[in-house]
């Protein structure tokens, strides 16, 4: 497996598209775009994006949330939520984005360290899950397959899988759970957040 992992890092075909996500890519998000050894130019850097970048919300301290938030916020069993999200990821997402999040060259983008996932504001990721490739814009053209809206999933399911991918694939793991209420907001909104 080590060999496999090492190998995937030098895979030449496009790993990009995330470059055009509507937020300043997280530190390591940009590194993904320029895979070492590729002769191809990276995907057209940041295609014109309609939505202005939101001010990055202050990131919660990684280690803290479970204990400090315990007093007021409703208790969330993060471990159980991640387990539920892992199952949904395996059943619904991994088929295209692969179990390791590296996608399929030319066909479906890798999502590991994607700027969409790494954004502290989950609303962009939720729009993408619920509406599919249409919210990505021109960057989606780098791949043959267009992501379908995954809006047949319930608010609870989307919250679980969003929590899971933010925890697993964000440039820096985001522990803060996504709530069904946040999913409902994204579902009611036609496109990306204003």
């Amino acid at each position: 497996m080590l060999l496999l992992a090492a190998c995937s890092k030098s895979e030449p075909p496009p790993v990009v598209a995330v470059a055009a996500a509507p937020t300043p890519p997280a530190k390591s998000g940009a590194a993904v775009a320029a895979a070492p050894g590729t002769e191809r130019p990276a995907a057209p850097a940041a295609a014109p994006v309609q939505t202005p970048a939101p001010a990055p919300a202050p990131r919660l301290p990684e280690a803290a949330p479970a204990k400090t938030a315990a007093s007021d916020a409703p208790k969330v069993d993060l471990a159980a939520l991640l387990k539920q999200g892992e199952k949904i990821y395996a059943d619904t997402c991994a088929t295209c984005h692969m179990a390791d999040g590296n996608g399929v060259p030319f066909m479906q983008p890798g999502i590991d360290k994607s700027a969409w996932i790494s954004n502290p504001d989950p609303q962009y990721l939720l729009s993408l899950i619920l509406r599919g490739a249409e919210v990505v814009g021109a960057a989606a053209d780098a791949y043959d397959n267009k992501m379908a809206p995954q809006d047949a999933l319930s608010d609870e399911q989307v919250a679980a899988v969003a929590t899971y991918v933010r925890h697993r694939f964000a440039a820096e793991p985001i522990a803060k759970p996504v709530t069904p209420a946040e999913v409902a907001i994204a579902r009611a909104r036609p496109g990306l957040p204003k």
């Binding site: 060999l3 496999l4 190998c7 995937s8 895979e11 030449p12 075909p13 002769e39 191809r40 395996a90 059943d91 619904t92 991994a94 088929t95 295209c96 692969m98 179990a99 390791d100 590296n102 996608g103 399929v104 060259p105 030319f106 066909m107 479906q108 890798g110 599919g132 053209d141 791949y143 043959d144 397959n145 267009k146 379908a148 809206p149 995954q150 809006d151 047949a152 999933l153």
Partner: protein
């Protein structure tokens, strides 16, 4: 059959009587045979990373080119390879060592199909077919390309335009379906629901026939040969019976779309990739049906009322001639017209499988070139066997991105060598038969 059997003592006696010096003839034959073998290049010690049947060896003709699609081999051994993203490679082995010393690039546009026909090099981008006039002895064509077919649908998904020439000399071009199973807005996702494909299939999911010498034809002016396939990137003429054979990519994600009927394991093994005879008026059953890789039955897709069990009984769709494992992704198909390989490989076809991405939780599979035996009437016997393997470099492959190579193009050279191209890291192999272990 009259007369003595060829190997009988009586026949040999007759031969001895009419040939005064049979030993001379024999030595001359042996000389010719050894000369033919001497002309073969020295294979690579590691066979270019491939695993081959005993007696076969491989060498790397070129490496680290751009991602490659189909290839065509000229009578002098020059290779023409279409690239996935931009233009064409022309490769020449000038000194006979089997390696391409001359690597030229020309043309523009990514695509898939390429073929030589009557002194022209035909090639397809994702929305058109072009041809270049070749000058004998010149590797790279000098003139501008002539557009033979234009304005073919190009909607990203399944936009490769494979083509071949029939025994009638006509040009047969594929147009894929930018879809998984015509499941509407949620195609490929949970809850995908089939929509009426009638109008869509007028311009997608079929083969069209064109005049190879007439510029700027369109689907409307061509002849609509067949319908009802999802995507086909394999088409080749069998010289034995003059018929065209095609392979079709089966649908993906049965379990994603209908988890109530299919587990991930079910999806990893279904549906089949299939081979069909291409004939006027054929309907291959997409998007309504798929072929079960285990039972070989034609079943209803879940987008169209299927439940994993319901068998299609409409009788409208052709039955497949060869059934391959799920998700292997059949690419270029080439009939073996040479004599370098042993008897068993003559008259059959080689098919490159690019390898799967949709077989989790099983390891991804099918990164190989297979041999498909055909009978003396030019029809497939229904079986296939792995011929060249280990393109991926690993057996326990989780994701196609981890594969070292993905075989895509396969074509037979003038001396009977088999050439294979790589859609991942741009390697080109030449397979030869020496008989040595």
């Amino acid at each position: 059959m009259t007369g003595p059997p060829l190997a009988s003592p009586a026949f040999l006696a007759t031969l001895a009587a009419i040939m005064p010096k049979p030993h001379l003839l024999l030595s001359a034959t042996l000389l010719l045979v050894s000369a033919a073998f001497a002309a073969l290049p020295k294979p690579d010690a590691d066979n270019g990373g491939l695993i081959l049947p005993i007696g076969f060896h491989a060498l790397v003709v070129a490496d680290h080119l751009k991602p490659l699609r189909n290839l065509a081999v000229a009578d002098n051994g020059d290779l023409y390879i279409k690239t996935r993203q931009d233009g064409i490679y022309a490769l020449r082995d000038a000194d006979g060592d089997g390696r391409a010393e001359v690597v030229k690039e020309f043309g523009s546009g990514g695509g898939t199909g390429i073929a030589l026909h009557n002194g022209w090099l035909y090639e397809s981008t994702n929305d058109a077919v072009y041809r270049y006039k070749l000058t004998p002895g010149e590797l790279v064509p000098t003139g501008e390309p002539e557009r033979i077919v234009r304005d073919l649908p190009d909607e990203k998904q399944h936009n490769a335009k494979a083509f071949a020439f029939g025994a009638d000399g006509q040009l047969y071009v594929e147009v894929g379906s930018p879809s998984n199973a015509f499941g509407g807005k949620r195609d490929r996702a949970l809850g995908a629901k089939g929509e009426d494909p009638t109008e869509f299939l007028q311009t997608h999911g079929g083969y069209w026939r064109f005049d190879p010498d007439k510029p700027d034809q369109t689907q409307a002016t061509g002849f609509h040969v067949s319908t009802g396939h999802r995507h086909s990137t394999s088409i080749a003429l069998n010289p034995t019976n003059g018929r065209l054979f095609i392979c079709i990519h089966g649908r993906d994600q049965l379990n994603t779309v209908a988890p109530q009927f299919y587990t991930a394991l079910d999806n990893s093994q279904n549906p089949a990739e299939v081979m069909h005879l291409l004939r006027d008026g054929a309907n291959f059953g997409w998007p309504y049906t798929y072929v079960d890789a285990q039972t070989k039955e034609r079943k209803l897709n879940p987008e169209f009322g299927g439940d994993g069990k319901k068998v299609d009984d409409s009788g409208k769709f052709d039955a497949p001639l060869v059934v391959f494992p799920a998700h292997y992704s059949p690419m270029q198909l080439a009939f073996y017209t040479g004599t370098q390989f042993p008897e068993k490989f003559r008259g059959g076809a080689f098919l490159a499988f690019q390898g799967s991405w949709n077989r989790a939780p099983l390891p991804q599979a099918g990164y190989q070139v297979v041999y498909i035996p055909f009978d003396e009437k030019g029809m497939p016997k229904g079986s296939f066997e792995t011929f060249a393997d280990n393109f991926a470099g690993y057996t326990d492959l989780a994701s196609p991105g981890d594969a070292l190579h993905r075989p895509n193009g396969v074509a037979v050279g003038p001396d009977g060598s088999l050439y294979i191209t790589d859609s991942s890291r741009g390697r080109v192999w030449r397979i030869i038969y020496t008989g040595e272990k």
